[in-house]
Symmetry: D2
């Protein structure tokens, strides 16, 4: 993408027949904003994609934005390249190949109430939706799930004010402080939904605090414009006939280049088969015994330092700077580590 | 270093006897500033190191600052770690080992006149000093030289004003615009001094413009506070008895992790033998066919993006974020590439 | 505006009948981007306004964007507030009031050819269009003109490449370096069109260089997406029946609070009558004998420092942080100064 | 100052005899850093000033740094100019002038224990030291005090760890989160010491929370390198014979230019008599009914936006950009407002 509003390649794929716009279910990409509260590149990209699809889908942009899952992460630090990966789903009656292939499952919770936000109730709602997404993807074994992208609401100033007026207790009264609770509750919802964590272990005190409870395939993000949690589940299904499959691994730290190959191997493939990577970048104050300055830098946010570093490490292995890399890993991996998933061209 | 003023590890090495302060000839390191015109962390580090050495050397800080070569690069983006590498030279009458070992050669030009600045005369003065440094290091074959750090003057506003008042022609009237000429003329001086480029090929029109003329071992930086060019030449000498040797290679682009191993092999060693790395980071608008946003980002300077990325790639190979990495590669490598040198623990 | 995409107040004015969308001729505002090459808030605001007007105008957004002049300046540093001022023009047969009132004149040049760009030909094309805008506003005396907003093209990389392939000479081969030529040629076009500068004084060597040639009412900006120069001329016309009139003055430096009152007085009004202000902010290295750090700061662009300061000074006089304030004053005022215009509620 | 290390003007004043270095008691100034955790310009300035004074005072820099109060605020946004104001005190037996004149009082608390930090005990220790400073300045009436600069410790990670190991309760376990408690407890200490707030109103729950308790003359800052609270009290004393006096006022918001004149009048002088200004800048999300973007900007810290704006407003009144302006106003003024003090040339 030459800019967040650039849809020329999308239009080209549609014009050439390579992409059937009616089959699009999700768009996941990076935009060149700062990734912060005043990053409007994500909104511009969503609006531009919806407008580009309007003439093809015969529906208004508002309907398109609610039907297709748009997930953008702002911030293309270092070598990272602005791009979008468009996911389609077709009901082609092809005979499934010998090995399980990439399948997507979509689901959505109902609205999360302010007094549910960041509590076990929030976790359970996400877990239920994850199970629906599993069924939607026709995946029986949760071990075949390799990446679950969830986006959901924050506590907005307005929601906080009305909840307090109604005498409701909230996990925090600070809109910014609600981010870890949002990401954390959704990640634990994935973990519970996939059986990685038992539901009864999730107590009010553990959410966003006890980082020894985690999923290994969740990637969660939160935004004030949302009211429900949207799940896009990626796994390998025996009934799928895609040319791709997916695997995952864990980055032990920001320098763990070996995790890229591990993610490919987890999909029964090699580094050269990778077509796209989803990962999270985690900042740290110490790295392999050395002090870093990510957290003490008042000019550049620590998430930007982390994305620049981890993005370059991954791209140095795959050769491709078009990586989906975002920040905030609460309950999405063991403490200090970060999740990585790779979609590969299937070998058999 | 816990801060640019932190000399506690230096003092510890001296107190333990591991380091004889009288043998220090150069200090090369990274500080946690922004690397720009308002980066005062370099000045603070030099002042702090000189003050820490005062009681040991029995000389005033001003004398110490002029006798020891202090080279700091500001900017520890991504994983890069603030640190200093202290180089010593002793006349120990040890029997030299079988293989050539790390030797340093030091030399200095006279003051560069404003009307010489950025011209072939500037190049020749540096080339002469490089030859002196070769002799100082007792290196006969220029092929044994792997890294030549040169720092020298910029055209300051004051120098420009007085030169114009005297009717002298300058290569540029813009202090900031004098940086490429400074770095370029010094790099070509290294190239001529080591025989990589023939002196007669260096014309006024080629400096900072014809990037097909280059050294492969130069690393140059410029500062308004200097009047002479200072050379620190690193190579392997048969008469040296250091435990270390040095090699170099070229980063083909910002993702070229293989260059780290190539630099080690050039020193007859392997990646695990590397003790420290010197490299340059080069920004680009396209990388392996993908657009990057380093140059279009108005919030973060492109050199900071490049250092964050290249630093992480190198550290992902060596496991050590304490890398000396700076920007600006004019005439220091083939266009689009970047130099890298590695000091290794010698194997034999 | 709560965000660059926020059109709720525009919609409210239309819904209430306070604003007839068919009468809108121009929108001038500030958005909360960084004001640099990667500021996409301007594009998002234009797109959002055009989409908001689509159902009211019965035309597609592309037509609306070409018919209505959208002028956004990115960067709301310090106290500056994101906002839009919407200008309408109606042919109401009201009896004109006793005093001349605010009138707008619109005009456009043809495409500027690359080899015309930044040359006297560019200036003449703008001057001709300014004269058309004068007629369009029904203003006879150029002294009644107080603000001329012009936006026009830059030399894009593509235009430079094709011009060079065709053997054409350009004023610069650097896209970024073409900004001063763009702003300068358009400002001189205003000066020539209004008789402030004689056409024969504009030589190829004077554009973007001889700052003693200037308009006192021009405000120009350039963007790579444009091919023509668009003029929005603001003045007082005896045939206008607006409730407003306009005046202008000059900020002698960034601290010149007195210029705000001078601009109001120039419109026969007082500070308390001001409804909106258009101004430019100019950075400097010295101010009233003191050194500033605007230009040496590598973290924050000098234009952002200047806008933060000048915006606060103006707002401290008017009490209103919703000011249109942008940067780059070439040929738009005497060297070191900056233009300011004020629209006031007319007293008689 | 041309840089944080520039002491040339200090040396010039000493060389000319205008300044007796033995009489220096305090240095208060601005440096051109970012004002954040990685701003090392303050340390460089203190070190440089102490080194410049060494030969004149015949004592080591460490002694000088502990005897003279150095107060630096990093961040010269907008028009603000890097500078230092040097305060001297002499026991000259001059006959005091008719009106009270500027007098300084200095005092220091003992070390603040971690479990006292941010509690009423902290407040009482500062209040006691403020009373000592009053006596030191020979000021009987607290109404004659116009500015009390206090700097003191933060809770460091080390202090937090050892206090927790000892089972002590702390007001916060977050080093960064200790800033408001530090500034707040010191400001309330000033308020109690001067009788602005009754000691019994200061409860554990009120510190850094109940902003209706405040001093109107306190200016407090905190740093991890300190263990005690240092007080520099400025007021007018009948026994002083300085050429200057001091007054103060309150900025109602970031645009309140009238406060500058009010501060001068409070010293029985006019704006043109002002020689230096001390003030605080307070960011806000709304200003005179308009939204600002200071807090939502992820690229530039809100304190930098606020300093750029308020500094320009004050300088537009005094004509002098060399203003001491810092951030963080807890308990130092009514909520939403900010303190300002002006030293003036005394008229009678």
């Amino acid at each position: 993408m030459a800019a967040p509003s650039d849809t020329s390649e999308l239009k080209g794929l549609i014009a050439s027949g390579a992409l059937d716009p009616r089959e699009i279910v999700a768009v996941i990409g990076k935009t060149e904003g700062n990734g912060g509260a005043n990053d409007f590149t994500r909104a511009l990209a969503t609006l531009s994609f919806a407008l580009a699809l309007e003439p093809h889908l015969g529906r208004a942009k508002e309907a398109i934005m609610s039907e297709i899952a748009f997930v953008w992460s702002g911030g293309t630090e270092g070598v990272l390249s602005p791009h979008a990966t468009v996911f389609t789903r077709s009901n082609a009656s092809t005979i499934p190949p010998a090995s399980p292939r990439l399948a997507l499952g979509l689901a959505m919770t109902r609205d999360i109430a302010p007094d549910e936000f960041g509590t076990p109730a929030h976790v359970i709602l996400v877990a239920d939706a994850v199970r629906q997404a599993l069924a939607d993807a026709d995946i029986k074994d949760p071990a075949d799930v390799h990446y679950v992208q969830v986006k959901g609401p924050l506590l907005t100033p307005a929601a906080i004010a009305s909840a307090k007026a109604a005498g409701q207790a909230l996990v925090t009264d600070d809109p910014n402080g609600s981010k870890p609770f949002a990401r954390g509750a959704m990640a634990l919802g994935v973990a519970v939904g996939l059986g990685e964590v038992q539901a009864e272990k999730v107590t009010p005190a553990s959410i966003a605090r006890d980082m020894n409870l985690y999923s290994k395939v969740a990637s969660t993000s939160a935004g004030g414009e949302l009211t429900k949690c949207e799940i896009i589940l990626f796994g390998n299904s025996p009934s799928a006939s895609s040319d791709y499959s997916i695997g995952h691994a864990t980055l032990k730290d920001a320098l763990d280049a070996s995790a890229v190959g591990a993610a490919a191997r987890s999909a029964n493939a090699a580094v050269e088969d990778i077509v796209t990577v989803f990962a999270k970048a985690e900042a740290s104050t110490m790295l392999r015994g050395r002090r870093t300055t990510m957290y003490s830098d008042a000019d550049i946010n620590y998430e930007r330092h982390a994305r620049a570093a981890v993005g370059a490490v991954i791209a140095s292995v795959t050769g491709d700077p078009a990586i989906f890399l975002s920040g905030g890993t609460e309950h999405q991996c063991p403490p200090g580590e970060a999740p990585i998933a790779a979609i590969v061209r299937a070998r058999s």
